[in-house]
């Protein structure tokens, strides 16, 4: 009798555990727009109960806003009764500690330093919400499309690239970041490859004489920057007319889908 009793309980417990592992967490709060985007690309937005004020898709879907970029409303999160909170490295560690004190599981995704890390984090997120296979499928699909593009560029000669992600101050993409992979994929050389800090002077860029300039600042500023660069007629990028503006929404967000979108924009710009 005792043996039957124990084995039934064990059986029920195992079922519960497998259930959670198979279906993943059910009430998720996202504290970063990039993570929200990933959840949407895995078609799991129904599981999202809370988002930040900067998560465009989620706020349109009327999900509850629980945080801005730097401040987090702990009480609101707890009120939503989530079983998982996903955060990025910008979230203050104090908030994470407070949430964990309430027994909520918090998973922090630090800013990925490469496309490979983006993929690994995407799969990890997929596993947490019970969509691991879907995540792996998406990754394979995107990676094969990227490989096709990379092969094409691997044969062209290496060109110097300046990837501008800020104006006032002038900010460049640094090596060992995921955005540097955009440059690597087109077989380019980042003129800032020796730097550890991103604030550079205009003179540095002109001395580096890049063959291609990408600008991802938003609004009118991007156009103003392009005009400023075009006033230096002797720059290689100006002579070949290779200054391109890319939306920072897709270029600066570390998710696999936006990475591919950015590479497609870059590819189309360079092929024309």
């Amino acid at each position: 009798m005792k043996k039957l009793y124990t084995s039934v309980i064990l059986f029920v417990l195992i079922c519960i555990v497998f259930n959670i592992q198979a279906n993943g967490y059910k009430r998720i709060v996202s504290l970063a727009p990039s993570l929200t985007k990933s959840i949407y690309s895995l078609n799991s937005q129904a599981k999202m109960v809370g988002c930040t004020s900067y998560c465009k898709e989620a706020t349109t879907d009327k999900k509850v806003v629980v945080a801005s970029m730097v401040t987090v409303n702990i009480e609101k999160i707890i009120g939503l009764n989530p079983d998982l909170v996903i955060a990025a490295s910008i979230t203050n560690p104090e908030y994470i500690q407070q949430l964990e004190k309430f027994g909520i599981r918090v998973v922090v995704f630090h800013t990925p330093k490469s496309y490979t890390e983006i993929c690994n984090q995407f799969i990890e997120l997929g596993q947490l919400i019970g969509k691991k296979e879907a995540a792996i499928k998406i990754i394979n699909d995107i990676s094969s499309k990227l490989d096709v593009m990379k092969k094409e560029f691997a044969q062209s000669k290496r060109r110097k690239v300046f990837f501008q992600i800020g104006a006032e101050p002038l900010f460049t993409v640094l090596p060992k970041t995921f955005m540097n992979d955009y440059i690597e994929n087109i077989n380019g050389i980042n003129i800032a490859s020796g730097l550890t800090k991103g604030t550079v002077s205009r003179e540095f860029v002109i001395t580096g004489n890049p063959d291609i300039i990408f600008i991802t600042t938003m609004g009118i500023i991007g156009n103003e920057e392009k005009r400023t660069w075009e006033s230096y007629k002797d720059l290689s990028a100006v002579k070949d007319n290779r200054i391109f503006i890319i939306e920072s929404d897709i270029a600066c967000t570390p998710t696999p889908v936006t990475f591919l979108k950015t590479m497609e924009v870059i590819y189309n710009s360079l092929k024309n």
Binding site: V70, P169, L195, V200, S201, R202, T207, N209, M218, G219
Partner: protein
């Protein structure tokens, strides 16, 4: 006796001019791209090539702006220290930098900056500065006419505090990029690409210098105190009002175009007083030129210390100016005495 003083002044001005020339040449030759002094002469003749573009579009505007802003801020400091007769007064004591910075913060946070372009920042900054000046002016009008110096100081300081708290509020509710942009603007930068703004800064700085010379006699009389100056026949209320307006305008324009560059307006007047005394006939032009030299040198440092990265110029002026100030204070040459 009289002649030796004027001789000393002429000698001082000569030395300062030579230093200014040296500073300008240094500023034009320093940077990531190698351009030596002989290169400069050659490029000015041929007017071709990427080096010429760098020289004329990047280094020359920077140097000119440093000249104008350094001169304007130092002149403003000298004028204000003369009017307030207080050695701790500097152009930002009246809250102008707070008002301008708050305006810029609003501009960035509301997204106006992205919609209207880079010109929005100096325009809104100047609007904020003007608003502050209006407040300080109108809150300090005495019943019998004229301005209360005490009240101007206090109102200015209070506005500074309010503005900086309001700015911190804005920064706490906005994105990290916006905060970075606001802080970068506040720390000061001389890399202004709009040639029109630089021209405005230069014209206003010179206009300030020339117009303040119309009041040099009144300023010298004010050194004795408001009452004694009145007994000498000086219309102190008009003088104080005009000097206040001149100092505010040149500070407001400088802050709008270059951000908050501190310490220049505090340290240079003291330096001038120590070198040539408090006579405004020499200290107005003296502080203007020495301020220009100081800021040009600080800008060279800002560009070279962590090259190819650039330090914000407010960092350099703050540290360099602060250290110089402490050294000067702690030595035997107390400047407070020479304020009279």
């Amino acid at each position: 006796m009289k002649n030796s003083r004027y001789l000393k002044w002429c000698f001082f001005l000569l030395v300062v001019f030579i230093l200014l020339l040296g500073a300008v040449v240094l500023s034009l030759s320093v940077g990531d791209m190698k351009i030596s002094f002989s290169d400069i002469i050659r490029l000015l003749k041929t007017k071709e090539g990427i080096e010429y573009a760098v020289l004329v579009n990047l280094r020359l505007p920077r140097t000119i702006l440093a000249f104008a802003v350094g001169g304007a801020l130092s002149l403003s400091g000298t004028l204000l220290q003369g009017v307030y007769r207080n050695p701790l007064v500097e152009p930002y004591t009246m809250g102008i930098s707070g008002g301008a910075a708050f305006g810029v913060a609003i501009c960035i946070v509301t997204g106006l900056y992205l919609k209207a372009g880079a010109i929005a920042l100096p325009v809104v900054g100047f609007a904020g500065a003007l608003l502050t000046v209006f407040f300080v002016y109108f809150l300090s009008i005495k019943r019998q006419g004229g301005l209360s110096i005490h009240r101007m100081l206090l109102t200015g300081v209070m506005i500074s505090f309010i503005a900086s708290s309001a700015m911190m509020f804005l920064m706490s509710i906005t994105s990290a990029e916006d905060v970075h942009g606001i802080i970068f603007w506040i720390m000061g930068s001389l890399s202004e690409p709009n040639a029109g703004l630089i021209k405005i800064a230069v014209v206003v700085a010179f206009a300030g210098l020339i117009s303040s010379y119309f009041f040099v006699i009144q300023l010298n009389a004010l050194r004795l105190g408001e009452t004694k100056a009145q007994h000498l026949g000086i219309n102190t209320s008009v003088t104080i009002r005009v000097i206040f307006v001149i100092a505010s305008l040149i500070t407001g324009i400088s802050v709008s175009v270059a951000g908050v560059i501190g310490f220049v307006g505090l340290v240079v007047p003291h330096l001038i007083r120590y070198i040539v005394g408090s006579d405004f006939r020499i200290s107005l032009i003296g502080s203007f030129l020495v301020g220009s030299i100081f800021l040009i040198f600080c800008d060279v440092l800002a560009r070279t210390l962590i090259a190819p990265n650039e330090l914000p110029i407010g960092v350099i002026t703050g540290i360099a100016g602060g250290v110089m100030f402490i050294i000067a204070l702690s030595s035997n040459f107390s400047n407070a005495k020479s304020l009279r």
